[in-house]
Symmetry: D2
Subunit: 327 residues, 4 copies
Amino acid sequence: MGQVKKIGVLTSGGDAPGMNAAIRAVVRAAIYHKLKVVGVKQGYHGLIHDYIEPMTSRSVSNIIHQGGTILKSARSQSFRTPEGRKKAFENLQKHNVDALVVIGGDGTFTGARLFGQEHNFPIVGVPGTIDNDLYGTDYTIGYDTALNTVVEAVDKIRDTASAHSRLFFIEVMGRDAGFLALRSGIASGAEAIMVPEIDTDFKQLNKFLEKGMRKDKNSSIVLVAEGEKISGGAIQAAERVSKEYPGYDTRVTILGHIQRGGTPSAFDRVTASRLGVSAVEALIDDQKSIMVGLVNKEVVHVPFNQALKHKKKLNPTLLELTEILSI
Amino acid sequence: MGQVKKIGVLTSGGDAPGMNAAIRAVVRAAIYHKLKVVGVKQGYHGLIHDYIEPMTSRSVSNIIHQGGTILKSARSQSFRTPEGRKKAFENLQKHNVDALVVIGGDGTFTGARLFGQEHNFPIVGVPGTIDNDLYGTDYTIGYDTALNTVVEAVDKIRDTASAHSRLFFIEVMGRDAGFLALRSGIASGAEAIMVPEIDTDFKQLNKFLEKGMRKDKNSSIVLVAEGEKISGGAIQAAERVSKEYPGYDTRVTILGHIQRGGTPSAFDRVTASRLGVSAVEALIDDQKSIMVGLVNKEVVHVPFNQALKHKKKLNPTLLELTEILSI
Amino acid sequence: MGQVKKIGVLTSGGDAPGMNAAIRAVVRAAIYHKLKVVGVKQGYHGLIHDYIEPMTSRSVSNIIHQGGTILKSARSQSFRTPEGRKKAFENLQKHNVDALVVIGGDGTFTGARLFGQEHNFPIVGVPGTIDNDLYGTDYTIGYDTALNTVVEAVDKIRDTASAHSRLFFIEVMGRDAGFLALRSGIASGAEAIMVPEIDTDFKQLNKFLEKGMRKDKNSSIVLVAEGEKISGGAIQAAERVSKEYPGYDTRVTILGHIQRGGTPSAFDRVTASRLGVSAVEALIDDQKSIMVGLVNKEVVHVPFNQALKHKKKLNPTLLELTEILSI
Amino acid sequence: MGQVKKIGVLTSGGDAPGMNAAIRAVVRAAIYHKLKVVGVKQGYHGLIHDYIEPMTSRSVSNIIHQGGTILKSARSQSFRTPEGRKKAFENLQKHNVDALVVIGGDGTFTGARLFGQEHNFPIVGVPGTIDNDLYGTDYTIGYDTALNTVVEAVDKIRDTASAHSRLFFIEVMGRDAGFLALRSGIASGAEAIMVPEIDTDFKQLNKFLEKGMRKDKNSSIVLVAEGEKISGGAIQAAERVSKEYPGYDTRVTILGHIQRGGTPSAFDRVTASRLGVSAVEALIDDQKSIMVGLVNKEVVHVPFNQALKHKKKLNPTLLELTEILSI
């Protein structure tokens, strides 16, 4: 490849708070290291349609605290075809871009791996998703903010749950992983948590509900991951409980897209800043087809192949905590 | 009746942020004016079941900032019967309570009016509901906080709407009134607002959507009041638009119960404090069967009859604002 | 003057949350009514230095929720001279601007009044200041947000005050007016409030402190307006109390500039939107040398002369509330 | 000692958000493991004065989200004397308490180590301080919340800094450590950070200021740790810069006690829950004179001796980030 002189940066897939902090870090690290840098609008879609423009230190002023992504994101069917990727490559060549930083989740990295191999093009990925479901990094950008958003919402719902002695089922995002549900459940003092990774939820929930009725408990919160499979979601879980335990006054709230937005937390901003800078330095160090991640507080390089092949596991200690803490 | 010596306070109906600030004001104003004061738990239900306990200045320490209601709220079928109300009256007599402050919405006041007439018992109502749908007061306690909660949620959703160029339909509470949707729509810069009070929503929405497509607009937010009748809610509105304007990538979020909770805003705390104190002073002044309200920054007394008979109107000026501001 | 065809908008003086919402409203209302519109950067300073640029509906997209002012603000000594104002007038003529909307406080309106008279130039003012000290409007833009910011800060400080049984003196902004201190004091449940408008503060404070010591009260908050004159500020008040009541563990916090920033509240955004639109419509209706204000929920026109001559009064009812509520 | 049957829990030193979540975890874990549990009010002071009361699962309901500490904290001169500690020991014996969990910082652990040795009493410490200055744990409880509080405050100040093109010096807590200043500085996009651990601040700051003046930069934020020694604090630093660079319009804000309060973040609540449970389990496992900490996401046991002897180091990578990111 020779030496990197000009890099591009894009965001792809579902947006996550902190993506702007990552873009800022990529752009400023590039400039700091005397590289030129362009921004690609709308992810791979923009790569194909040549939505490419130069970026300066000023382009990323005053964005570190903004949710969403100033580069926008979009789905691209076309990038799944060799023709689409060829067009993307030609656009990169036209702009003399010789390396890419892509910010996103596993869909983003799957595309990046393929493109990188096909065109021998250096790409480094930065993990940005509220789901925290990427193997090879302790935390993904946006996860901590989404946790705080969920916890803040549950705090509000508990006000009204307590006022009326109700049983609330609250559905949170996370796709087929339970990270968001598990941690936000512990942090919000949920009485039960239903995640895709565990099958025995209903048995535990039943135990809890029977105990709760005996204790004449005031109000209860059950956090349900959207990917939870036994019940099929918060609405179904609530219906089932209503039938089996008619003594409970159940309610359902699906938190929805508020979980993707908002001002990023301090933690996400620092993580995004570190990983953004590290992604650029990895390209300078001639790395490719890797994701930069954070493991035990240190930046690591994880081949896309590894990040995409393995499934990150829930921390079993955290799973046990709920049982202890809802006593 | 003679002079008031001991009053009771209760919250009833849907809870609203600021109810605790109102309870605190009632309790402390009573003590300030040398009255005794008891709290009734779980509204009219607790009145019938004798959930009555003395309150001191300390009982309401450190609650001004808490959402929900420390006195809890509950529905009571029994209070709708003469027998139930008789039981309630007997409990009040047993505790020597000779006047009541009830905090809630129109259901609460309907019960209070009936009970007051039947047993010649002095009751003053304090308007507490996020819906702001009570005639005779400019603002109800909880409305301002709910507005801020909705606006904060829409701000977050706009992050992701912008990132993906989507059209979001967001459903907010308000029962059959559009106050919450209208004001939060203006405050969040919504491109269109659908409220129960107006029939022509879809025509305006269509106009807006056609213009939006021509302008290649980035993202749009439509706020839908839960009581909106033409479409029947956010889900239905989104479906209809998806069919007629397939160019739009639509999404739906139903904000749900987060709107009822949360730390009350400064405005709601001050309103609750003023009205709580005024309710006690109205009882001391030998008033009954009235709601205390806030009109043009001054406290007013509104007979329950008037408050319940009339329907509060949306401000037509605000309705016009949306058209101007979404240009 | 003839008919208005092109207007300018600027922000001046101390910034306030909601100024951007007002700018957005002015720009879009102008476009809605077929006027051209330019933005002046850095207030009167920019008028003199020709920092003037056209604005479109897009220029004000996605700013309704941002604190600060996209047009920036600055002091201008030069605008206090006839020569400076002449230069400003020439720049407006050069750009064919035939009317101005100025957003700010009394300093801003003083300059506007003078400039308008000297050059027979139509100007309408929009009240934007966190101090709420403008006669002729119930609320100024930014006041409600600042109230919420102060109350949120005091809530946090009360956590630590309670944990340690301390007496906190918290100084808030407001220049020589006590609006911010008074309302935020009530809303945060402050045990005492010291405002410039009242002389007897220390007597009341003493009474309270003696009672507090007898009751072995946990923690107390005293809100001090920065313009308070008897003690001269929170630091001095705390020192005085420390000497006279050595039993209290006193602490001081000066909230400072966080009070000027932050995402505007729903209330401020709606007020800003209404007043911004009304300012443009007033110019179209051939008005000049007025401030648009909000009185009893309706927009009013107040001559600059009146707004600047009178001093807005604190609501005496609110002053009494504190004594009742801190019992 | 034999087997633990009854434990006590207390909070001591400066309070930190998340202490209540830790208390809740200790109490519930104790009950879960069939231990009895008492709460000690006001830390070591309460130990000496017998402010000891039984706790149940209900005593810690609805506190996970509250700032401060329901057990309160206080300084105790008396506990520094052998007599005081003897009295404390007698009180513990009187209540049949045979082990303690203490939540606090290094002062708390110093007292605990001494007391534990003197009376052969098992004590486990839980690190709770916003300063994050305890060796042996990656994070202390309260640090993440304080970071978010600082970052949110700086976001607000930047609104007004940008509006007026000012240079702000913001002083944050942290005692003689720079953890809070460093991370919040990166997260808030501060242009410079002054921490006690680094001597060369002014040189770097000067470089930055000269560059800034050349670039006509809009606004700048300098975060100053309260323990910073070269300048002696934010006020002094601002004065010095005002003299050397009269072109800058400088302002100072000392954030103060808001940093200690507020609803704990999701991260702090999870950490507090884990460490609280682990502390109880360590006592059951016959451990003593240790702090439980979190290192690389796992719970570790650190002897008080080690935790108190070593000084935790700032992450050098983070120090370099600022230079890159403020380019």
